[in-house]
Structures are given as structure tokens and as C-alpha cells.
């Protein structure tokens, strides 16, 4: 049997390039699987560890204002394990110079925490400096994301506006909070932006004193007893808080940071399982194709082996061992590459997000799984052709000429009538007469399309979604929000500022949308139906005025789908001014799902205010003055936040950076694999036809002529696979997109036309490139040898 092992090694060496290509394919499959799954697990455990260690809240309640003593009352409720009462306010904030430049004011979230004992719920992790003691009057802790972005640390000063007046605080440390692992201001503003939003912690009493709210809290975070029924407990607490202007109840699942992370981790999981699975599948089928060709080409040798007395099992085993060697080397290389890549991704990800407690682990099971999967695939792929070859009688097998045997049938009528030049006739013949070969090559090409379009589709979809949302839908340059309702004069004043071209009043409030069976937290935005700052994406031909007619509520298409709602349905909004019933109008097809729109006058009617109620403005401003306007807006008393769209888009791009990192890695895998596939297909084609090409050269064909034949053949194959490749690639991208759907966004797979063009062009180029070494091989053929014997 030793001699067969020797032959296996010889075979490997003789087809080294293709074997390497196959090993690379297996390696990439295993590596991307091991890396992404490991990173997913690491991230998941890291989040959960952080949550556990810092006692992350199960439910958070926001009220207008309640006495601190309410916490004691809540604590004794059945099912409540811990409760912490806090004061949480958003305000404008001045920062010290950064890198020698004055910085824009930012939106600061100040959270008053109990002192000196640590909060029982939503504790902070001190990364630098210390926690407060009872004597701290001007001390503040900065959240790590913000501190990092602005290079802030102990000793730096920040000045939040409290009651319209800047109050200077000294930073005594940097902290991380389970509520702000992703520092998203709200569920409607999920994109974290350290540039414009920062979280700070300070002693509760200090904050109360500055705001004149002694003894008051507006935020209660609770942790449930193990096994307590969430709904029941929530109802009990809500009853307790009803009289204090309960404005929001946020379950952990809806908590912005957590929801964001979950969406992220889930996306990660989808990438981790879906893409590598496809890649591994492609690898398996490629091995199958390659091995099938390999074995068929060796049929005469198999006949000889059997004639010499080798048993079928020995012959099958021999070819299986080739598959096994490919699978083993590929898996081992994949593991070696994948695991370090996995912890690298975890660290990059965690560092970028500011996850404080990182756990990376070694997962031997992933290597085993990946290896088992790919070994099973390769062995399975090797088995069928090997057994098929072994089943033939030695005489049959030895007489088999792989080149001649593949051509079947007679010259068709069509071929007789249409007399194409030989340069075209021969390539066409090769494609249509040697079907098995063409099919396997075509499959390789189609796989390349699938691999690339599936990954690129994700990138395109996000790019298109973001640019559509911020170019077509949101038309404002600056959005300013105030802590309370404004009078007419605020808008009038600002409209008069230099550089401000227009300012439209809006009312934005978080509300809970309820149907009979379900509820969702949404951001309700009310404006004049004639406004121009937000382009509602209504079904064809309907104007906003028609959509809003009769005071109807418009919700996003994504939300309507999620809650199974449609035009004409009745829903209830739980607002700070009581529950309100609305009829739904047509849906608006926007990126963010958790949004709803109403005409301002309808809100005025429901609230019973004398003037149009608004707590924000959408501004159209001169680009050159937008920074100054932002600063001036922050200086206004009562400003809660100022957002420049350009900053927002930059933040989104930064936020997407991680996702792009992942896509980039997958893209590299996809492209390498596509190349390996095409290269393999081209090389095998030449190997199979070695004798044919040697004969051509022997009778005086120049290399150029043979090269032209090969290129023409590839061009034809490319043309033939163009439509199925693009269609199947598009289809696979859609499948991936479905797996990616998230509650928060409406995510639709859209591929830019240029993507199709570039993919098709790239594949053609790769095919030609992959043909070059094949052509070199033809020109280096030893004619004396290649024409002498069969194979």
C-alpha cells in the first residue's frame, strides 16, 4: 500500500497549483468560519460579563419628576430585586479646547448617581480615577467614549449648562456604563456620536441642587428577581409611578445601547454563520468538481491498478486519501489563520466600541467543527468519483481516452448550415460538446459571482440606504431640540440669524405605539404638512397633505410590516399627555423603523395648547456658517441638543467602519476564493487537454493561436454565465439580506448597477489572468512527451 501513498503524494505534486488552490479554498472556508464565530462568541460573552458585573437594568422608567422616596416603595414590590433612582437630563455643554482648537458645544447627558454607595442598578466601571465621595461638589465622571474622542481625563474641566448657565466641573475619572456600551442618545438616535453626544455622571445631590430639583428624580432603573414575570412587575411599578407623569417604560430589549449591540452582535452572528457556510459549500463543490475531473482523467491508470490486482477498496481509498490530504492541510491552515484573526476582530471591535470588559477565548470546538465540516465535504466529494472509477472493469478503464470519450453525438444540422470560422467553431464545440467540463467551469464562474455579489450587496445596500436617507429624506442641515415647548418667538428669532435660510418648527417626543397585541417605542414627529425639511416617502402621487388629512398618523413602512398594520387601522399612542387614538394613513418608506408623523395642528388640538406646540427646529443654513450657528444654538437657554447632518453622516460612516471591516475581510475571502476557483478551472482545462494542445503545437500551431482559442472559449463561457451568474449572485445577496434584517432599520438589498458591471468585468479579467499560467504551461509542454503517450 505504500506505493499508493507515494502515488497520492506524486499526484498532489503533479497538480500542485490546483491542489494549492483547493487548499486555499478549504482554508478560507475554515478560517472565516472559525474567526467570525469565535469573535461572535467573544463579543457575546464580553457584553454579558459587563452586564452582570455592572448590574445592568432590566427595566427603566422615565417620569416627569418623583420624590426620591418612591424608590423605597418600588423596592418592596414583589419581583423587584434592586432599584436605583436617578436624575437624567440632557443639556448643552462647553468643552475645553481640543488640539488647540475650540470645540463645538455638545449635547451632554448628566446622570445623577447616589453617593457615596454605588448604584444598585446600572453601576459604572471606573476605568481611570475614582468614584465620588460625599464631599465632592464639583466632580464629574466622563463616559469613556466621549473622554477618548476628546482626549479628556482627570483634571480636565467641562461646563454643562445648568438652568441656562455654564457650571464648571472637574473630571475625576473615566467610567464605562452598561447603559452606554454604545453611546446612543435614544432609540431614535441609535448612531453613537462621541463628537456630539457625551454621557457624564455626577453626584445626585449636586445635580439636584444646580437644577433646583432637591429630592427629585426622573428615572428609575430596576432589576428583577430571578424568575419574576416582567409584565406583572412592570405593571406594578407603572401603577406606582402613574401619578408622577410616567413618560416612558423601557425594557432591556428596547434600551438603545443594548438594542444597538444586540442588532450588531446578531449581524455579526449572521455573518459568522451564513457567509462561511456558503464559502465552505463552494469549497466542497469545487473539490468535488476538481476531484471528479482528476479521477476521470486517470481512468486508464485505475484500470492498470486493478489489472495489477489492487482491490476496489484500495483504489477508492487511494483517491479518497487525496481528498483527505486537501481537507486536512486546508483545515489546519484555516485554524492557524482563523483563531488569531478571530481574537483580532474581537479586539478591534471591542476597542472601537469601547466595551470595557473583553474576554477572548480559545475555542477548540470551532476548529474541530470547521475541520470536520470541510473534511466531510472534501471526503464526500472525493468518494463518488473514486468509487465510480473503481467500479469499471480494468479493460474498460484502460481503453478509456478522457479526451476523446467526452465528445459525443454527431455534427448538428445547424453547424452544417452556419459555417463559422474555425477560430470560433472550435471554442463553441469545446463548450457545447464537452459538457461536463464546461458545466464545471461554468459552475466555478457562477460561484465567483455568488461569492462577490453576496458580500458586495451588503455594502451597497448600506451605502445606498444611508445616502438615500440623508440626501433625499432628511433635507435639513441642523436639527436643534429644546428641553421644553417653545413660544413663537424662538423660531422667529432664529429665522432672523445670519446664515439661517429657513427654520421649520417640529415637535419630537418619544411615545409608545400600541395595537391590541403589541407595542413599540417610537419617536413621534409633528410638523406642518407643507414643510420641506423632511421628505416623507409616500406611495406614488400622494401629497403629505392628503396623507395627513383628517389628522391621520403616518408610520414607517418597516414598522407597519413589523406590527402588521395598514392604512385605516386604529392605534393608540401613549404620550405624556395621556393615551391618544389615531387612524393610520399611508406608510412612509424610510430607513428608521421606529418613527411616526403627525400634523402639528392635530397635536395642538389633542394637547389643547393655545399655540402650535414645538420643541425643535429644522434649519436650512449656509454651509460656511453652520458651525457658528451650531455654537450659538447651544448657547440658547433650554437647548437640549444640536445636530449637524454632516456630522451625523460622518458618525454613521464611522459607526459603519466596523461593519465594513467585517465586510472587508469577507470580501478578501470571497475574492481570493473566486480567484482560486477560476484559476483551478482554467488549469484543469489545460491539464485535461494537454495532449490536444501538444498536438496542435506539433503540427505547427503557434502559441498565440492556441492562446486565442482559449481566450475565445473563456469569453464565450463568460458571456454564457453572465446572466445566470448575475441573477444567482443577486438572489444570494437577497438571501443574505433577509438574514440581516433588523427591527430597527428597514434593510433592503440594493445593488448598484456599477457593482454588477465591476463584478462581471473583474471575473472576466480574472478568467483571462487565470488563463495566462495555463497558456504558459502549454508553451512549456514537452511535445515529445505529451504526444507520445496517453496522459
Amino acid at each position: 500500500m505504500k506505493i499508493l501513498l507515494l502515488k497520492t503524494l506524486r499526484d498532489l505534486r503533479a497538480t500542485l497549483a490546483q491542489s494549492v488552490a483547493l487548499i486555499v479554498i478549504v482554508m478560507l472556508g475554515v478560517a472565516s468560519f472559525a474567526a467570525t464565530v469565535a469573535a461572535y462568541r467573544d463579543l457575546d460573552t464580553s457584553y454579558n460579563r459587563t452586564y452582570e458585573d455592572l448590574r445592568f437594568a432590566d427595566v427603566t422608567f422615565a417620569v416627569q419628576g418623583a420624590p426620591e422616596s418612591i424608590v423605597e416603595e418600588i423596592l418592596v414590590l414583589e419581583g423587584v430585586r434592586n432599584a436605583t433612582g436617578r436624575l437624567v437630563i440632557d443639556t448643552g455643554m462647553e468643552l475645553p479646547e481640543r488640539d488647540g482648537e475650540t470645540t463645538d458645544p455638545i449635547r451632554g447627558r448628566l446622570i445623577g448617581l447616589p453617593v457615596p454607595e454605588r448604584p444598585q442598578v446600572n453601576d459604572v466601571l471606573i476605568l481611570e480615577g475614582r468614584y465620588f465621595n460625599s464631599t465632592d461638589e464639583t466632580s464629574i465622571l466622563a463616559d469613556t467614549h466621549f473622554a477618548e474622542y476628546f482626549h479628556l481625563g482627570s483634571g480636565d474641566a467641562v461646563s454643562p449648562l445648568l438652568n441656562g448657565r455654564p457650571v464648571e466641573f472637574q473630571i475625576i475619572g473615566v467610567a464605562a456604563s452598561p447603559e452606554y456600551l454604545m453611546a446612543s442618545p435614544s432609540r431614535q438616535e441609535l448612531i453613537p456620536s462621541a463628537r456630539s453626544f457625551g454621557v457624564f455622571f455626577l453626584p445626585l445631590e449636586v445635580l439636584q441642587k444646580h437644577l433646583g430639583l432637591e429630592g427629585k428624580i426622573n428615572d428609575i432603573a430596576i432589576r428583577l428577581e430571578n424568575g419574576a414575570d416582567e409584565q406583572t412587575v412592570v405593571r406594578r411599578v407603572q401603577e406606582k409611578l402613574a401619578s408622577f407623569g410616567l413618560s416612558a417604560t423601557t425594557l432591556r430589549a428596547d434600551q438603545p445601547s443594548h438594542a444597538n449591540l444586540t442588532a450588531d452582535v446578531n449581524q455579526f452572528r449572521d455573518v459568522a454563520y451564513l457567509l462561511p457556510s456558503v464559502i465552505l459549500l463552494v469549497a466542497a463543490i469545487s473539490v468535488y468538481m476538481m476531484l471528479g475531473r482528476h479521477v476521470r482523467a486517470q481512468t486508464p491508470q485505475i484500470g492498470l491498478m486493478k489489472a495489477l490486482g489492487y482491490a476496489d477498496s484500495a483504489v477508492t481509498g487511494h483517491y479518497l486519501s487525496y481528498a483527505l490530504v486537501i481537507g486536512l492541510i486546508g483545515s489546519a491552515a484555516g485554524a492557524l489563520l482563523g483563531l488569531p484573526l478571530g481574537s483580532w476582530i474581537t479586539k478591534m471591535y471591542a476597542a472601537e466600541l469601547g466595551i470595557p470588559i473583553i474576554q477572548t477565548q480559545f475555542y477548540p470546538d470551532l476548529i474541530l467543527e470547521g475541520a470536520a465540516l470541510s473534511l466531510a465535504a472534501t471526503v464526500l466529494a472525493g468518494f463518488a468519483p473514486a468509487r465510480g472509477a473503481a467500479r469499471q472493469t480494468p479493460a474498460q478503464a484502460m481503453r478509456f481516452d478522457p479526451a476523446i470519450a467526452q465528445v459525443k453525438g454527431r455534427v448538428s444540422f445547424l453547424e452544417r448550415v452556419i459555417h463559422l470560422p474555425l477560430e470560433l467553431r472550435l471554442p463553441i464545440r469545446n463548450i457545447f460538446r464537452v459538457r461536463r467540463r464546461s458545466l464545471t467551469t461554468a459552475l466555478g464562474i457562477i460561484f465567483a459571482y455568488i461569492l462577490i455579489l453576496m458580500v458586495w450587496g451588503l455594502r451597497d445596500s448600506i451605502e445606498i440606504m444611508v445616502s438615500r436617507n440623508y440626501e433625499t429624506v432628511e433635507r435639513w442641515d441642523i436639527s436643534v431640540s429644546f428641553a421644553s415647548l417653545q413660544t413663537d418667538s424662538t423660531g422667529r428669532d432664529i429665522r432672523g440669524w445670519s446664515g439661517v435660510q429657513a427654520a421649520e418648527p417640529v415637535l419630537q417626543i418619544p411615545v409608545t405605539l400600541r395595537t391590541d397585541t403589541r407595542s413599540e417605542e417610537i419617536l413621534l414627529t409633528a410638523f406642518d404638512p407643507g414643510q420641506t425639511m423632511h421628505a416623507l416617502q409616500l406611495p406614488g402621487g400622494i401629497t403629505p397633505r392628503e396623507a395627513f388629512a383628517g389628522g391621520r398618523l403616518l408610520i414607517s413602512t418597516g414598522l407597519a410590516d413589523l406590527l402588521d398594520l395598514s392604512e385605516g387601522d386604529r392605534v393608540t399612542l401613549d404620550t405624556a399627555f395621556g393615551p391618544q387614538e389615531f387612524t393610520l394613513g399611508p406608510t412612509t418608506d424610510e430607513m428608521m423603523n421606529a418613527v411616526g408623523y403627525l400634523p402639528l395642528d392635530e397635536i395642538q388640538k389633542r394637547m389643547g395648547t393655545p399655540a402650535l406646540p414645538y420643541n425643535g427646529l429644522w434649519l436650512d443654513v449656509d454651509d460656511s456658517q453652520s458651525r457658528r450657528i451650531k455654537t450659538d444654538l447651544y448657547r440658547l437657554p433650554g437647548t437640549a441638543g444640536v445636530l449637524r447632518k454632516s456630522d451625523l453622516v460622518a458618525d454613521i460612516r464611522g459607526y459603519m467602519g466596523l461593519f465594513y471591516l467585517l465586510i472587508g475581510i469577507m470580501m478578501a475571502v470571497a475574492i481570493t476564493m473566486a480567484f482560486a476557483l477560476l484559476f483551478n478551472a482554467m488549469m484543469v482545462t489545460v491539464l485535461e487537454r494537454k495532449r490536444e494542445f501538444a498536438t496542435m503545437r506539433s503540427i505547427g500551431s503557434e502559441i498565440r493561436r492556441i492562446a486565442m482559442l482559449l481566450v475565445t472559449e473563456n469569453l464565450l463561457l463568460w458571456l454564457l454565465t453572465l446572466a445566470p451568474g448575475l441573477l444567482l449572485g443577486h438572489w444570494m445577496a437577497l438571501q443574505v439580506g433577509t438574514a440581516f434584517s433588523v427591527d430597527l432599520f428597514t434593510f433592503r438589498i440594493v445593488l448598484a448597477p456599477s457593482t454588477y458591471v465591476f463584478t462581471a468585468a473583474g471575473i472576466f479579467l480574472t478568467m483571462i489572468l487565470a488563463t495566462l499560467p495555463a497558456i504558459r504551461r502549454v508553451s512549456n509542454l514537452n511535445l515529445a512527451e505529451a504526444t507520445k503517450v496517453m496522459n
Binding site: I699, G700, K788
Partner: protein, 240 residues
């Protein structure tokens, strides 16, 4: 005065390095062949027959000596000139036929013709060549649908496509039964007589020797014996 020979091989050597030792396929082979001759190369296995043919056909290069064909030393040719030489001067018939599997009998001939010319006359000429080997009625068959002898005759028609001065046949009957082998040899003989092609025919079957103008016996890489045949026997009279 005698006309210049078509081929002059002078102390031609060919060695193959095989690890530590060197295999001498040819050692100091001298051979001259006149235009229009039909020469049969005989010799035991491993004596260097195929090597000699490959060198003459421009498929292989000698490692020593001179090979002059029509006054030119082909061993000095670069790859391009060698390709042109194969295309225009030589016709090769292989032991294993080596037809292009995806081309029909007619197209295999047409392929060779298309290397030197173009136009609609290619097809006509291809048919003529097939007729020469009595295969007009198999023109549209693929190699897989032809018998061994038929394939070999297509190979001969192809070899003659560009009116080569030199037709090299390496055991053209090695894979054929007696009757088919006769047909193939007849075709070769006819071409030699009618078209005036110089033919070198390799065999290790001595019984075809009588049909040759000259019989060259190789042994261990050099010429052991040359016999002239003033009255070559017709193919039909060969005793197998």
C-alpha cells in the same frame, strides 16, 4: 553529380539527465536521407527511433551534433522558426493518432490547412485530402466515432495538408490490426510515390521492411546497419 540530400544528421547525440546518471538516447548517430525516399527505421525498443523522429520533426532538440534539413540546421532554430518548420516542412503521424477530439475528421484536416492558408478553398482541399486516404464518407465523424485505422488515416491526411517535404510516421500501425495496418501503409506508400513526399517510417516490426527504399537499423542510439532495397515490395505482398 548527386543532388544535396534532404536530411543530413551528423554525429547527433541526445542525452537525458536522470538524477545522478545520464541516459544516452542517441550517441553519434549519422544518417543521410534523399528526397523522395521511403525509409523504414527499425530497432529494438529503446534504441532511439522515436528520439530520432522527434528531433527530425522539430519536437525535440539534440544535445550534440548537426541536423541539416533542406540545407538549414534546425537545431539552431529558435522556437518561432521551429514552429514554422513544423508547420510547413513536416507532417507527423503519431502512434496514438492525436486527433483533436472536438473536431470532425474533415475539420482536423482543415485545422492543419488553416495554419498556412485561409478562404473557402480550405474545405475543398480538406475533402481532397480525406479522399486520398479513402475517408470521404467519414468526413463529419468525430474521432470518437472512428475506428483506430480510420483515425490514423485522418492523421495521415492531416499530416499531408501542407504538402510537407517530410512525412514522419512513428509506428503508425502499432495500434492497428493487420488488415487496417495494410490500408494505412498503402496510403503512406501511395503518397510517397504520387506526391513525392519523403517518408520515414518507424517500426519495430521487421516484416514491413521490404516496402522501403532503404532500411535503417538502430541499435543503442546509433545506426547499426543500412540496407538498400532496389526493388521495394508492394504493400499487398508484405508477409505479417
Amino acid at each position: 553529380m548527386e543532388t544535396a540530400p534532404l536530411i543530413a544528421m551528423q554525429s547527433v547525440g541526445k542525452t537525458y539527465p536522470m538524477g545522478d546518471l545520464t541516459v544516452h538516447a542517441l550517441r553519434g548517430l549519422d544518417l543521410t536521407i534523399a528526397r523522395g525516399e521511403l525509409v523504414v527505421l527499425l530497432g529494438p525498443s529503446g534504441s532511439g527511433k522515436t528520439t530520432t523522429l522527434n528531433i527530425l520533426g522539430g519536437l525535440d532538440r539534440p544535445t550534440g551534433g548537426r541536423v541539416v534539413v533542406e540545407g538549414e540546421e534546425i537545431a539552431r532554430f529558435d522556437e518561432r522558426r521551429l514552429t514554422a518548420y513544423r508547420r510547413t516542412k513536416v507532417g507527423f503521424v503519431f502512434q496514438f493518432f492525436n486527433l483533436i477530439p472536438t473536431l470532425t475528421a474533415l475539420e482536423n484536416v482543415e485545422f492543419a490547412l488553416s495554419l498556412t492558408g485561409r478562404g473557402s478553398s480550405l474545405i475543398r482541399r480538406s475533402r481532397e485530402l480525406l479522399a486520398l486516404v479513402s475517408l470521404e464518407d467519414r468526413a463529419d465523424h468525430f474521432p470518437s466515432q472512428l475506428s483506430g485505422g480510420e483515425q490514423q488515416r485522418v492523421a495521415i491526411a492531416r499530416a499531408l495538408a501542407n504538402r510537407p517535404a517530410l512525412l514522419l510516421c512513428d509506428e503508425p500501425t502499432g495500434n492497428l490490426d493487420v488488415e487496417t495496418a495494410r490500408q494505412v501503409l498503402q496510403a503512406i506508400r501511395d503518397l510517397n510515390r504520387r506526391e513525392g513526399a519523403t517518408v520515414i517510417l518507424v517500426s519495430h516490426n521487421a516484416s514491413i521492411a521490404p516496402m522501403a527504399d532503404r532500411v535503417v537499423r538502430l541499435h543503442d542510439g546509433s545506426v547499426a546497419k543500412i540496407e538498400s532495397n532496389p526493388h521495394p515490395a508492394p504493400v499487398g505482398e508484405l508477409a505479417w
